[in-house]
């Protein structure tokens, strides 16, 4: 008998496993759902600003809203990268992602995408952490552990640029480290002086001795946005079911956020339920919420999405994506993946709009018309 257990780690293979899984799930779903009720799938991954989707489905709030609009909504948990893959492959209809990934994954891959909910922005969740009191100016020439080409790198490069160190970025050596192992890899390797990551990993790392946070996302407020995006073709379905879907999700979202933000024991129960989504404790989830600027009311989200600052932010983000080749090798100009803002303003070529910020549904929620 030959032992083969050592070969069993096939899940590290770099193929689109998530997409295949989602496809199978969707096929199964199509087979079972009655043809009359349109069905939609929302993908989410564990993150403080997205964990509410788990509770929204579990508590029945989502079902109530879906029934009101006569549709079916399924909520499915993914790892982050596979959730993006599934959305780009059009296996799911809506997905929670950041503004940066919305631009460089679906939008850059030609999947016309609409952001219907601006949920929150990272207000300290993402951080640059160093050992031995290093300063940002001392980082060039040293190794930086991070998940390359994600918001972590965006945060780091913004930190350097804001401190006038942008020109020295070329001397920084990035060490691409998987987010599942980055905390232990940093903590057990004293010769690696810098790490950039997000909560709850940040909290875990900061518990160690001799480490210090030198920059975090609260210094670039509103730049790392967490969105719920829907494929535009779904929204524009001729039978109007896509809009019903967006209305139902938005309605359920703000009902839940209201429960979260109303002080009292009720809120704690809801928050504990949400913390369950990531097997987290209530205290830990509250700690993460403290560095997340949630838009608890539709009005707050609406104000954020219609402010001119959003355009500046998206310009920074798209320039970053373009410089790092995240819009694709064949994208010759940053304007080829255009972004449309509420009110109609466009960054890039008007005939190549791929990402749209819509305030329609948040507006309806603010007016109580959902």
């Amino acid at each position: 008998m030959l032992p083969y257990s050592s070969k069993s780690k096939k899940h590290r293979l770099p193929y689109g496993r998530g997409s295949v899984g989602a496809l199978l799930a969707l096929v199964a779903l199509m087979g079972s759902a009655p043809a009359a009720t349109p069905s939609f799938t929302v993908g989410w991954s564990v993150y403080v600003g997205w964990n509410p989707y788990y509770y929204m489905a579990k508590s029945g709030i989502l079902r109530k809203w879906a029934d009101k609009y006569g549709i079916n909504i399924r909520v499915q948990r993914f790892d982050y990268a596979p959730s993006l893959d599934a959305f780009v492959a059009k296996n799911i209809d809506a997905c929670a992602m950041t503004n940066m990934e919305a631009l460089d994954m679906p939008a850059a891959a030609g999947v016309d995408t609409t952001a219907v909910i601006v949920g929150d922005y990272s207000n300290g969740n993402d951080a640059v952490i160093v050992r031995q009191n290093l300063t940002l100016a001392q980082i060039p020439g040293k190794q930086v552990m991070l998940v390359e080409k994600t918001v972590s790198q965006y945060l780091f490069e913004r930190a350097m640029a804001i401190n006038g160190l942008g020109a020295q970025l070329r001397q920084v050596h990035y060490l691409n480290t998987s987010d599942s192992d980055i905390a232990s890899a940093f903590l057990t390797n004293p010769n690696k002086p810098v790490v950039v990551t997000w909560k709850p990993l940040v909290s875990q790392i900061l518990k160690a001795k001799d480490v210090k946070m030198v920059f975090n996302s609260s210094q670039i407020p509103g730049e790392i946005l967490d969105l719920l995006v829907v494929r535009s073709e779904v929204l524009n379905r001729a039978d109007g079911s896509g809009q019903k879907f967006a209305k139902a999700v938005t309605g359920a979202w703000y009902e839940l956020l209201k429960l979260m933000s109303t002080p009292g024991p009720g809120a704690d129960k809801v928050l504990a339920g949400i913390a369950d989504a990531s097997q987290d404790s209530l205290a830990s989830y509250k700690e993460q919420l403290a560095t997340t600027h949630m838009f608890y009311t539709p009005q707050a989200a609406l104000d954020m999405a219609s402010a001119p600052d959003l355009k500046k932010t998206m310009d920074l983000v798209r320039q970053f994506c373009f410089q790092h080749g995240l819009l694709g090798e064949k994208t010759k100009s940053v304007d080829d993946v255009a972004v449309q803002f509420p009110g109609g303003a466009v960054l890039g070529k008007p005939e190549r709009i791929r990402l749209r910020f819509s305030t329609t549904y948040m507006q309806l929620a603010a007016q109580g018309k959902l």
Binding site: P3, S6, K9, R12, A81, D104, N176, S178, D181, S184
Partner: protein
């Protein structure tokens, strides 16, 4: 319907056609779906067309790697290839791969000695049987403490993942050499080491080489896992980065390139095995 029977004798052309049929089917299906998706969305990235993949691959193989743009853009094809991203990644991964495979040979000797010398066997066997069942990837934090997160930990991940299999396989193969041969060797005046190396080792070596060949894929899987966890270069590092923006037009050629390299290593080892052991026909 005799062609489906055990004693069917397909002709050369039939056998050749049959053996390529699934390749053709896979390729046709892929491009059929890819075409459909591209008609629907001209910016489609998930399933690149053949033209995009050729471009992606030639960019990877001929354009200079990121940092030093100006220098290698001229010069001969070979010089450009040596300055390319693909070559750098292949070099980095290849070095780790070869070191790891080289480290499998001490494992073979350990397995052999465990089988031949009961005291060594008693010392190691139980532990290695246990160790073999450990899923090394789930103990990464401990590996990081012991070996850091640079080159050593990647190689150790492979070694820990693959050597127990090799040790146990060599052990079993050595044990299967008929006892009579060993007794006979002793009656003809052989000592312990000539029995071990000149009777047993010689007989099992071709099978051990085959066992290593079968484990090349496992070596590659662990290497990919290691490079995806923390790395600054290598084939899997590149694939992990390209995934961030759905660079499937480069990823698919990369995966095929890895398959080709693995095939060549396997092929070379098979040839060497035949050369060294012309008497061994089992392969």
């Amino acid at each position: 319907m005799s062609f489906l029977r055990i004693h069917a004798q397909p002709g050369r052309t039939t056998a050749w056609t049959l053996s390529w049929f699934l390749f053709a089917l896979g390729i046709v299906l892929y491009f059929y779906v890819a075409q459909a998706r591209h008609r629907e969305n001209p910016d489609e990235r998930v399933m690149p067309t053949i033209g995009q993949m050729v471009r992606g691959f030639s960019d990877a193989a001929l354009k200079p790697a990121e940092e030093e743009e100006a220098q290698a853009s001229s010069g001969s094809l070979a010089a450009r290839f040596r300055g390319s991203m693909l070559w750098k990644d292949t070099e980095a991964s290849g070095r780790r791969f070869l070191i790891s495979v080289a480290l499998l040979f001490p494992a073979v000797l350990l397995g052999l000695h465990m089988a031949m010398f009961p005291v060594i066997g008693a010392f190691f066997l139980r532990f290695i049987l246990f160790f073999d069942k450990i899923v090394a990837l789930s103990l990464l934090p401990i590996l990081f403490i012991a070996f850091g997160i640079d080159e050593l930990s990647k190689i150790m991940l492979i070694v820990i993942g693959v050597t127990p299999t090799i040790i146990l396989d060599t052990f079993n193969l050595s044990k299967s050499v008929p006892r009579e041969q060993i007794v006979k060797g002793f009656t003809l005046g052989a000592n312990d080491f000539s029995i071990t190396y000149r009777i047993v080792f010689k007989q099992i070596l071709p099978r051990v080489l085959n066992s290593i060949r079968l484990n090349l894929k496992a070596v590659m899987l662990f290497l990919f896992a290691g490079e995806m966890i923390a790395s600054t270069d290598g084939l899997a590092y590149r694939i992990a980065l390209l995934r961030r923006h759905m660079g499937m037009d480069t990823i698919i050629p990369y995966v095929l390139w890895v398959a080709l390299l693995l095939f060549l290593v396997d092929f070379a080892m098979n040839k060497i095995n035949h050369k060294l052991h012309p008497w061994f026909e089992a392969a």
